[in-house]
């Protein structure tokens, strides 16, 4: 659950966070390009969720499995929920919400990795 794919998710999320912050500063709502990029990141997170569950099923390791799945589900859920929450917001606040979510995602991915690596609490 570590490896280049998780790192790629973190890098993309941080890049999109920077992009969203630029839009906030420029006083602009998210544009189509950012929304498209968000959809790509969401697709990566769905793959991360499925891949994580498949790896978990094939592992004999001792770790907190419920927490692991919980963090994976949170990773996949935050972008859709945020998109729903700002669906009517036409101001830069919508970009602000996305910036927050893109900043939280790397934390969630790192927690997924920590739970995978760690012993049962």
């Amino acid at each position: 659950m570590t490896g280049p794919f998780a790192t790629a998710i973190i890098v993309v999320a941080l890049l999109l966070c920077g992009w969203a912050v630029v839009l906030v500063i420029a006083n602009r709502a998210p544009d189509k390009a950012l929304l498209g990029a968000s959809a790509v990141l969401e697709a990566m997170l769905v793959v991360f969720l499925i891949g994580g569950i498949v790896q978990m099923a094939g592992s004999d390791q001792e770790f907190a499995r419920a927490e692991f799945v919980g963090y994976l589900l949170a990773c996949a859920a935050v972008i859709p929920v945020a998109a729903w929450w700002v669906r009517d917001e036409k101001s830069r606040a919508a970009a602000g919400v996305l910036a927050v979510v893109f900043l939280v995602l790397p934390v969630l991915v790192i927690r997924v990795q920590q739970v995978w690596a760690g012993p049962v609490a």
Partner: protein, 140 residues
Amino acid sequence: MPDTSPSDDSSVAPRSTGRGFGRVLVTVYGIFALAATARSAVQIATKFAEAPVAYLLSAVAAVIYIVATVALARGDRTSRKVATVAITIELVGVLAVGLLSLLIPADFPSASVWSGFGSGYGFIPLILPFVGLWWLRRTR
């Protein structure tokens, strides 16, 4: 993951507190509602006997965050009052638990979002209630 956002039909459409900067504030509150709920659920399910008081406080924090999130998102007159009460309790809670976790650390083994004034969460739990109360005032 539970969806902590309110059900949204036209009669309870977000007004002042859920608009503009409020969108961002509600997002941060929602993230803490999710984090605190999940954390306290795991604590109570797996190791409640280790520190029951601290874990119950964790659950209280989770409920407060959920109430504040929903109330700020709705933003009608009643919700503003609910949000004010919830965020005031949040402020007292983070200060009290923060202080107690420093004075009697044995009872607070890094147990809640409010331990050490929220140091495990970048001290955002300490800043958040001030921002919340400011925003309620600002949008009055």
